[in-house]
Symmetry: C2
Subunit: 262 residues, 2 copies
Amino acid sequence: MLTIGQLAAFAGVTARAVRHYHQIGLLPEPARDASGYRRYGAKAAVSLIKIRTLANAGVPLSEIGQMLEADGSTFDEAIQRIDSHLRDEIERLESSRKQITQLTAGESLALPPEVTSYLDRLREIGVSERMVEAERDGWILVVARWPERIHQIMPAKFAHLDDPRLVRLYRLGSELLDSDAGDDDPRLEEAADILAGLAEQAYTPGETNPDEDAQHELPFGLLDALAVESDPRAQRLLDLMRERGWASWTRTRPQRLTEPAD
Amino acid sequence: MLTIGQLAAFAGVTARAVRHYHQIGLLPEPARDASGYRRYGAKAAVSLIKIRTLANAGVPLSEIGQMLEADGSTFDEAIQRIDSHLRDEIERLESSRKQITQLTAGESLALPPEVTSYLDRLREIGVSERMVEAERDGWILVVARWPERIHQIMPAKFAHLDDPRLVRLYRLGSELLDSDAGDDDPRLEEAADILAGLAEQAYTPGETNPDEDAQHELPFGLLDALAVESDPRAQRLLDLMRERGWASWTRTRPQRLTEPAD
DNA sequence: ATGGGGGGTTGACGCAGCGTCAAGGTCAAG
DNA sequence: CTTGACCTTGACGCTGCGTCAACCCCCCAT
């Protein structure tokens, strides 16, 4: 007769595991000897090995009991279920691995390569590191809401960098972020003028903008909030844009709040 | 300002998950509004998305905090650790899948194919189902203790089936298991005679048996116990073997207990 | 006889990452 | 005013054991 430790060693598990199987009713409690020790026979060893075989194959303990009692077809069904579950798990982990190898740099965190290229391009243009980080956080929000559309958006963004006004705008932002200029800095006005001009151009009045619905889904509110949270002076910029008839400095649609409603 | 539900929805998680991140200090608790609701800004959304990006990549929550603060090389090291851990997990599951697909029939449970073939062969010879099951459980114990050696053992076992004495022995076992014969059934004596003869042949006296140490490691005690547990009449067989000078009906070494010690 | 070391016993908490009640308070709409 | 959808804290549940704690038991050496 074996003690719990001997039984466990024979099956290659710990005594704690055996006691656990008793607790959940997977392995019947054996009789005790005079001093209260559990004493196991050979059949218990066989049962324990069967249990471990299934458990090692990835069968949850809660199902092993039924499987050991099941007949051939029921058993095979269960095997199928377990196997497809394992397949799913493996797929999940595989995709995790793919994802994680993308995360070599802290920057690519949560961003597709197009966007990180764009950010690198900004650096080449002379945009400061703080400005790039602010831009990056904004893109994280956009990507989170619109993961697929990002492929359509980025080429336009790259092309837009050919516009000297936009470059000037980024440089203004860089300067302002790195300075301790106040709300009254004239560069804020200049930035607002550029933004208004770009917005005017992007918004072709009279025509139905096909992306209008889509744009409506973009998290403009969050982007504005992000800017203000990153630098309170962004609030001034927002006010200036509102003066110029634009609802937000990231949204390219005119507001009508100051005009009478239809 | 977002409520917890809105924030969670934006990042594609549940509110409970966000609260969990607060609890473990991964995401800072935001300020509350007048009615005690948590109110989140855009930066929280960015943080949450970063957290989920790493979590989706398989990074344990407990490490995400440090990773978000880490610099490039520290970050990359962590990535390497996580990746190799993922690889291990995947391998584990892959091997589980391999194992589980082997378990198509209830019989192959915990047994390599050589052994199941042997059991099938026994059925062909006319061994009863109960006898095969008893034999199977015995092999489960042997395989558990000696998983690699089984490849060496089985060919000899197959060859041994050419010996008509062994076949007769299995048939006797089948008959006895299916009958309600008592301890005094003469077939028990016949079985003991065959066993003794086979043992005599297997044990070549005077020569040093190279497998002696190895055999010593086989779980003979358990095998004997298993037989007796399966059918109490096996005890009688053991006694008969002892009378004939053998320690156990599964062990092929003579006992010297009845002779004076050296 | 005594002491020590290596077994055994039950009971309990801990782990990861939340899901899911319970028992309320709040908010916007009809 | 009610309803339904949200928020709050607190707590247990899940998986498969690991790991104390506090105590008992057996065998061996002194």
